[in-house]
Amino acid sequence: MSGNVLFPAIIRWGAPRTVAAIVVLVLLTLLPFIAGSVGSDYYVGFGTRVLIYALAAIGLNFILGFGGMVSLGHAMYVMLGAYAVAIPSTHGVVSGWAHLAVAIAVTAVLAAGVGAVALRTSGIAFIMITLAFAQMLYFGAVGLKDYGGDDGLTVAERSVAGLYDLSNPTTLYYVALVTVLLALYLSWRAVLSPFGLVLRATKANARRATALGHPVFRYQLTAYVVSAVVCAVAGVLLANLTKFASPSYGAWTLSGELIVIVILGGIGTVFGPVVGAIILLVLEELLPTLVEMVTPDYKANWMLLLGLFIFLVALLLKRGVFGSLPDSATHRGEQR
């Protein structure tokens, strides 16, 4: 047995995991062309949605997969990102950079506060506190009567960012793809860095990390803020995709979905969230149609099948779909 099982520095090109990741990335890169040849723009929009969910899940995975912090409130940061587009644009501010700056700044400040409180606890209490803050923010957004309240807010103009016009679906798709690639690369580097070593140690054994002299709280809080900011960036993209921001983006069900994506893909792997997002969203898209074809009367019950699938993955694949792929013939690490 050699090599660090989960986090090697070297990409092993022959390993099934590496091959799977490359295949997925190539397909994602080609998707607009494939959709174009089929003659359906719908799939470009769907692909963008998958990428946005993947991005948010990469953000959550940074603390859930590597830091062992189960946040059931990360949708609030997605919502913040969406409102950071919608609210300024109703006031005529359409610069994408401005939207991004507002989203990052507001999220960083809020996450530092929420994290500082929530990280006083751990385990179940941490889950409940993050959920409580997300609910507060959700109802806060419902109370924004000037900005649509419960009904949400239509984005008048999509973000304009330099040469890129995000109202072009293909452009938005590639912006989302590049953002995902960037987030993957950054989290890969961070996980292997001295910071990442301590963060992973706090997950494995926080008591020992403290006894060695590491200020564990500071590491956890930093990771929490970074993770929230990634989710906010996903929110900025989401508002541009849907031309809409609403409190429902911050619903706890979305927070739960992000956790499911991370676990489906493979907790503690860098690339897992991408695979998890693809699987979950594709199933949510396909299953209703499939069920309707087989038994039209039970169309509404497609979620039973989704639940069964998630149950089976959790039962049979301890490390999720991507995480269970062999990382090489000798069980050495994984790539990204």
Binding site: M1, S2, G3, N4, V5, L6, A9, R189, A190, L192, S193, P194, F195, G196, L197, V198, R200, A201, A204, N205, R207, R208, A209, T210, A211, L212, G213, H214, P215, V216, T222
Partner: protein
């Protein structure tokens, strides 16, 4: 200047006096052993010294500095290293990464997100040295989960040493070990004698009497005697309270 001084240290759990006005010292270079029957409060005392358990009364001094109110990780940064009775390691990590984590704890500038942790040649060299010191030189890339119990105990000590400590707290380093493994650890601790002052909590009497310069006997949270190994062995009160037929 003593390496460690406790002054009338107290810990209560409800009505129970787990630590009953314990005063002891560890002198530079000394191996000071604490023995006592199960439930005597040894682990509580170690927890108080490490800062994991807050004391109700009394003071703890490290090298003349009052650290009673100093938090766990800050005590560690001041040179206190401990090992655990029940192995506390990152199970999915390799032996090397566990020790590297300990080496990095000594550095104040650990908020580095970019560079690969394994590219830090100085830290890697220190980690390698610590592993070699405890006899795990060939185990760098073994994950902790695959290591034998005895090897994990050795790794515990390697991690403590890797923090470049000024004082070692060893909580039953021989717990659950075979005779051969115990002998190796005793030899290791002998070889470290004089380099670090040590407070050693241990059940294995043979090891204690072989290693310790002084022995304190803890019974119901109270130290009933502190003496040389021979002195303790011949102390009637100790014999009555604890040693009885075992010595």
């Amino acid at each position: 200047m003593s390496a460690l001084v406790t002054q009338s240290l107290v810990k209560r759990f409800g009505g129970v006096l787990a630590t009953d006005h314990v005063s002891l010292t560890v002198e530079p270079g000394e191996i000071h052993a604490i023995i006592g029957p199960n439930g005597a409060g040894k682990s509580t005392l170690i927890g108080q010294l490490a800062g994991e358990i807050a004391s109700d009364e009394g003071r703890v001094l490290m090298f003349d500095e009052d650290v009673t109110e100093v938090r766990t990780h800050q005590r560690a940064q001041r040179g206190l290293a401990r090992t655990y009775q029940v192995t506390q390691l990152a199970k999915e990590f390799t032996a090397l990464d566990n020790v590297l984590l300990a080496v990095n704890a000594r550095e104040r500038h650990n908020f580095r997100f970019w560079r690969n942790a394994h590219d830090d040649a100085t830290a890697m060299a220190k980690a390698t040295t610590a592993l070699a010191t405890v006899g795990l030189g060939a185990m760098h890339h073994a994950t902790v989960g695959t290591m034998a119990h005895g090897e994990q105990r050795q790794l515990e000590i390697a991690m403590a040493l890797a923090t470049e400590p000024k004082l070692l707290l060893l909580d039953e380093p021989l717990a659950g070990m075979s005779q051969g493994e115990s002998a190796a650890i005793v030899a290791l601790l002998q070889s470290l004698r004089g380099r670090y002052p040590m407070l050693l909590v241990e059940h294995d009497m043979e090891a204690v009497f072989a290693l310790a310069d002084r022995v304190s006997v803890l019974v119901y949270g109270r130290i009933i005697a502190t003496d040389t190994p021979d002195g303790v062995r011949n102390n009637p009160e100790v014999r009555a309270a604890y040693l009885g037929e075992t010595v």
